[in-house]
């Protein structure tokens, strides 16, 4: 897609170089399917079917929250949409109460959190697995994969200060919504933050941590460790929310660290590492603030304000860019619908039997018209393929103009003159007779 000159100047943080190619790849990833038998996967898990493992480039034997985890793309039998299914093997869920956290998490609605829809346990895989269902983002990679691993022939993406600012803003946005719903993030794990679009990050795997925690608590409780309920729970949430800021800082520090060579970085104190970073003072200041014991989200946001504005500006631009791209494509659906109508009525085996497509049949002109549109030849009788001619004819057919067209029979012995208007009526009535 050609970028218009003014769009080239746009801050490219959120726009991939070749949007069309990227969208096509996403489309392909969504369509990918393999017969079940080859994968030895269950036909369906609850109401979700057509499971297809989502490539995991990071770690084939990934352990998530202490359990073996696998991720699938699947289709819901209930609404036909694609979802992402996470399976954790052998989580000791013995009561519906453990799944309670899902109720709160379902309310979380943020552009930087992958929405969770469902949680249940299933024996479909043979064992008893914990299944959680999320929005599906084709081609998404996690932060580790994005910045540290070579996937296919794509080099890892360089970490820059601009990217980090944007991540901080987006993850703050995610955290604020999660906190608003009385929850906490718990861990900013780079393998559980996914990049769903250029520069767009989302917290994934939500609610699993809380469910696993609940199952642990319960089992400890069974083993005699009394769990204190009630207000302590609320206090714990507030405390964890506070800790989220430090954990965000930890993530950002780890990502930042990779941009500079620091010997024995694991033995050096965080604050010292920050000093050695080659980023702006403001960045260092805000990172230091995250890791300060008494830091608060409120003040953190205040410090962040100008950068939030910058990131918002980037999002506005990317929405604008998408819209302008969309503007050029908006007529396509119309042609798809028209072509489908034509193909649905043409060459139907059951029609060939009745006489309506024969040379004297009422639908014969449609056949001749299709020849006229699609099967042009030059004077020597060679095929000519001209999309302009095709689309132009289709446009005229679509609107049913009064213009006449000359249709010649394949034997070139007879011809017909017919208006697009009349052809349109013919196609429409043929279509009506089907449905």
């Amino acid at each position: 897609m050609n970028k218009r000159p003014n769009e080239r100047t746009v801050n490219d943080l959120f726009l991939s170089g070749n949007l069309r190619e990227y969208l096509q790849q996403k489309n392909e990833a969504s369509l990918r399917a393999i017969p079940n038998s080859q994968l030895n996967l269950p036909l369906h898990v609850g109401p979700y079917h057509s499971l297809y493992p989502v490539d995991k480039h990071f770690d084939k034997t990934d352990k998530s929250f202490g359990y073996l985890a696998t991720i699938f793309k699947c289709v819901s039998n209930l609404d036909g949409r694609l979802y992402c299914m996470r399976r954790l093997e052998g989580v000791p869920i013995t009561s519906g109460k453990f799944l309670e956290p899902i109720k709160k998490w379902k309310l979380v609605d943020s552009a930087n959190v992958v929405k969770v829809y469902d949680a249940f346990t299933s024996k479909a895989f043979g064992d008893l697995s914990l299944i959680t269902i999320y929005d599906y983002y084709p081609l998404s990679l996690n932060l580790m994969e994005t910045h540290f691993y070579r996937i296919g022939n794509k080099d890892p993406e360089l970490i820059t200060e601009a990217i980090l600012w944007s991540y901080i803003v987006q993850l703050t946005n995610a955290a604020m919504e999660i906190h608003n719903k009385g929850l906490f993030v718990g861990e900013f794990d780079p393998t559980k933050i996914i990049v769903t679009n250029k520069g767009r990050v989302r917290l994934s795997s939500c609610a699993i941590g809380d469910i696993v925690e609940a199952s642990k608590d319960h089992n400890q409780f069974q083993n005699g460790n009394q769990k204190v309920e009630g207000e302590t729970d609320g206090a714990k949430v507030i405390d964890e929310q506070k800790k989220d800021l430090e954990r965000l800082g930890g993530l950002v520090l780890n990502l930042s660290k990779s941009t500079t060579f620091i010997k024995d970085s694991s033995t050096i104190k965080p604050m010292e590492i920050i000093d050695r970073l080659t980023f702006s003072d403001e960045f260092k200041k805000i990172l230091r603030y995250c890791l300060t014991p008494d830091s608060t989200w409120k003040h953190f946001q205040e410090l962040l304000a100008p950068h939030i504005l910058e990131v918002a500006n980037g999002f506005e631009n990317s929405a604008d860019y998408m819209e302008s791209s969309l503007l050029t494509e908006v007529e396509n659906a119309r042609l798809v619908r028209l072509l489908c109508k034509l193909d649905v009525i043409s060459e139907r085996p059951e029609f060939i039997k009745d006489g309506s497509w024969s040379e004297t049949g009422e639908r014969y002109p449609i056949k001749l018209f299709k020849d006229y549109v699609f099967h042009q030849v030059d004077e020597a009788g060679n095929s000519v393929v001209d999309l302009t001619h095709i689309v132009n004819c289709l446009n005229k057919l679509d609107s049913g103009v009064d213009e006449n067209v000359l249709l010649v029979s394949p034997d070139e012995m007879t011809c017909l003159v017919m208006s697009y208007k009349r052809l349109k009526e013919l196609v429409e009535s043929s279509f009506r007779s089907l449905s």
């Binding site: 079917h49 519906g96 249940f120």
Partner: protein
């Protein structure tokens, strides 16, 4: 002169002429197939006032989300490459007409019989939302239907699963699926595929009688499969149409190392393709027949299995020789089944082929293979041959053909012959004919089809096994796990359905035993085990013995009362599927195993004295000793560590079984569950269950033993871990008290307290 009329054609309307395209499209707007620039809307849509042709009716509804229909395995397996394309024959009957829309299937609410706990409500059916039903193709209507007009799998042949309510398997209404006097087998006692063969032999009179007869013998050192089959068949006979679980059989079978090695011990629910499943059940068939014949030798302490061989033994000559060295061996052995795996030679009238041609081809086989020769220490090919010398009264056939070969069989009319005649050729080999061959009256023997195991494969390509067998003269039944229903004779011989494949077939000579003798073990019944110890390991020395053996003076009679109680350990915990917005659903009930059984005298001087207190050896992993309920401590069931009076399962079981057959009356509390776990069928007239006797009808509540004892005697029992001797004694006290309360007319008032 009249001038000729000029020949004009008079047009009423002006002639339509093609319109010349006046508006030229600028070159910059020319579209291309290869580039997405310029966009398609560079060509302007002409002005329009009516609805565009491209508009689709907005009310048209398309459904999405249905499960994709996989390409049938049978097609995939029979693909041939023709000119670079993968081509196969299409079977319209099975796969339906082409390009048919897949109908949207949603998780549906299916009508199912209610759980027993819900059955007091009026309507008979309840709606159960079941995710697993997503794939099920049960049609509406009669579940006992054995024919289908729509070419679908008839309902009675479909795979049925047990639905578990929160009360577990006990709450499932098995009675709904069986109105006959022949017991079905539950589907989740483990190794469900074996059910088909168990039913096949249960209804084979010579084999069934032979197996039951073994019950007359005293216990052997170890648990014998042959005897276990006897207990199982006896239970199935006694159950008289009620459902049975082959749980003790499966427990003993699963512990056999050879069975494990052959891969016969399987986790249920593991998917098999159709062919793999047939191979599995045939391997089991060969294994179980061979094991029975071995067990016969152990049981009767003989060196040959003459009893078994007289029924199923196939004397076969196997020969090996080679032209490369002096190797030459000939051996005659008994097999118990024939693998039908050779195709008959090409026939001028292929449509006349029957199973007999396949059997004949498989009775005489020659193969070549490479060996490292023991004689000459070199590698060279050898010729091996197999020749069946004679057919037994019970001819058991493993139909070991591929899907493709079986698909051809479908089109052979009358392939499964109802009867045939066997004669002997001049070379001494059996010859099989549908008619008596003229002039060869010598050795002619008539065989009739006795029954077979069939594989049912549904549209979703899931396979399971059913048994079709003659239950009495010319009367046939279909056994589909716990579903049992009569089936019409013509359906029995019809092998033309796409969903049905023969797996194991039994023909029986008409001149052999054809009636069941369910009492055969009563002759010479050895009950000596009741009067002696028979520990799994060691002697009385160092054992904590809490019982006093019966003496012959106390020999149980019909009507002798005994008090019993059993304790169980948990092998596998129950499993639930849980969803945050639905009720949790039991998907696998817990698996328990008998751990201890105690029996007390109820009469005479020693009333209340224990005479059996058996701990049962555990051969499998125990998940939980549930000590607070069972009183069994870890180690108690381990022969190497235990101080308890530990016996094998069959020893403990035989004692119960003998008491049952001697006509004892069992007193105890909540015995229904105990009997189910012991895996024994006790007629109601031989049971005095205090939980039933003190049943609160109005509250529909059964009272616990502890509660009852406290209410009736103001005693505290079960203060520590449960103890089966104490519990059996408490039940006995309650029973005595019950009789007294009834006598004095105080039962109602006591219950109301």
């Amino acid at each position: 002169q009249i001038a000729p009329i000029p020949s004009f054609t008079v047009y009423s309307t002006p002639v339509d002429l093609p319109t010349v395209d006046r508006e030229l499209i600028p070159l910059s707007n020319h579209l291309s197939f290869d580039s997405y620039m310029p966009p398609l809307n560079s060509l302007k849509l002409p002005h329009y006032e009516e609805m565009l042709l491209s508009a689709w009716p907005p009310e048209m509804v398309f459904q999405v989300g249905s499960l994709p229909k996989p390409i049938d395995y049978e097609i995939l397996r029979s693909l041939e490459s023709i000119q670079g394309f993968q081509v196969a024959r299409y079977n319209k009957d099975k796969f339906g007409p082409r390009n048919v829309v897949t109908k949207y299937k949603k998780r549906q609410k299916l009508s199912m019989p209610k759980f027993i706990s819900e059955q007091d409500d009026d309507d008979e059916m309840s709606e159960i939302e079941e995710d697993d039903r997503l794939m099920d193709e049960h049609q509406s209507g009669d579940i006992f239907s054995t024919t289908s007009t729509t070419d679908e799998v008839p309902n009675a042949f479909c795979l049925f699963r047990i639905a578990y309510s929160k009360f577990g398997v006990d709450d499932f209404d098995f009675g709904y699926y069986n109105k006959t006097a022949f017991s079905g087998l539950e589907a989740d006692a483990g190794n469900t595929y074996t059910n088909s063969i168990l039913q096949l032999y249960r209804f084979n009179p010579p084999l069934c009688n032979y197996i039951l007869k073994t019950l007359a013998e005293d216990v052997a050192e170890d648990d014998l499969i042959l005897v276990e089959l006897g207990y199982l068949f006896d239970m199935m006979v006694k159950a008289n149409g009620r459902h049975c679980a082959a749980s003790n059989f499966q427990r003993i079978f699963s512990a056999i190392p050879e069975a494990q090695r052959l891969g016969l011990v399987t986790e249920d629910g593991r998917p098999y393709d159709a062919y793999g499943q047939r191979r599995l059940v045939q391997t089991f068939n060969r294994f179980i027949l061979e094991k029975m014949s071995q067990d016969e030798q152990t049981l009767y302490k003989s060196t040959s299995s003459s009893r078994m061989n007289a029924i199923t033994g196939i004397p076969t000559e196997t020969a090996v020789f080679s032209s490369f060295c002096t190797l030459s061996q000939k051996r005659s052995t008994f097999f118990h089944s024939i693998d039908v795996n050779s195709l008959p030679p090409p026939s001028p009238t292929p449509s006349n082929l029957t199973i007999l041609n396949y059997i004949e081809a498989s009775m005489n086989k020659k193969v070549q293979h490479m060996i490292t020769c023991d004689t000459c220490k070199r590698q060279h090919p050898i010729d091996a041959s197999l020749r069946v010398e004679e057919l037994p009264p019970d001819l058991i056939l493993n139909i070991d053909l591929t899907d493709e070969q079986l698909n051809k069989v479908r089109f052979l009319d009358g392939w499964m012959v109802p009867e045939f005649y066997m004669t002997v050729s001049s070379t001494g080999s059996p010859i099989l004919r549908t008619n008596i061959v003229a002039g060869s009256h010598v050795g002619v023997r008539k065989y009739k089809l006795a029954g077979y195991v069939a594989q049912i494969t549904d549209r979703a390509n899931r396979s399971h096994l059913v048994t079709i067998t003659e239950t009495s003269e010319s009367s046939w039944c279909l056994f589909n796990d716990f579903l049992v229903t009569p089936i019409a004779t013509e359906e029995v011989f019809n092998m033309s359905y796409w969903w049905k494949k023969p797996v194991i077939v039994v023909y029986r000579a008409v001149d052999t035993v054809s009636t069941f003798d369910y009492q055969c073990y009563k002759q010479g019944l050895n009950d000596s085990i009741l009067y002696r110890d028979h520990f799994a390991k060691g002697t009385r020395e160092g054992k904590a013995v809490e019982y006093e053996l019966l003496t012959h003076d106390e020999a149980p009679q019909a009507g002798t009362m005994v008090a019993i109680d059993a304790e169980f350990v948990q092998l596998v915990p129950q499993e639930f599927e849980i969803s945050f917005h639905k009720q949790k659903r039991l998907v696998k009930p817990k698996k328990l195993a008998l751990g201890r059984i105690s029996v007390l005298r109820c009469e005479g001087e020693k009333e209340g004295e224990c005479f059996i207190d058996d701990y049962i050896v555990a051969s499998e992993h125990i998940d939980d000793y549930i000590t607070s309920f069972s009183g069994i401590e870890p180690g108690d069931l381990d022969p190497d560590k235990s101080k308890r009076t530990l016996v094998t399962l069959q020893t403990a079981y035989r004692k119960m079984w003998l008491l049952l057959n001697l006509g004892c009356i069992f007193v105890g509390h909540s015995l229904k569950g105990d009997f189910r776990m012991i895996n024994i069928q006790v007629p109601l007239e031989q049971v005095r269950d205090t939980a039933e006797l003190y049943y609160l009808k109005k509250e529909r509540r059964k009272l616990s033993l502890k509660y009852l004892i406290y209410q009736v005697f103001q005693d505290n029992v079960q203060t520590g871990n449960h103890d089966s001797i104490e519990d059996a004694y408490s039940a006995l006290r309650l029973y005595r008290k019950y009789l007294e309360l009834v006598r004095t007319g105080q039962l109602e008032s006591t219950l109301q307290r």
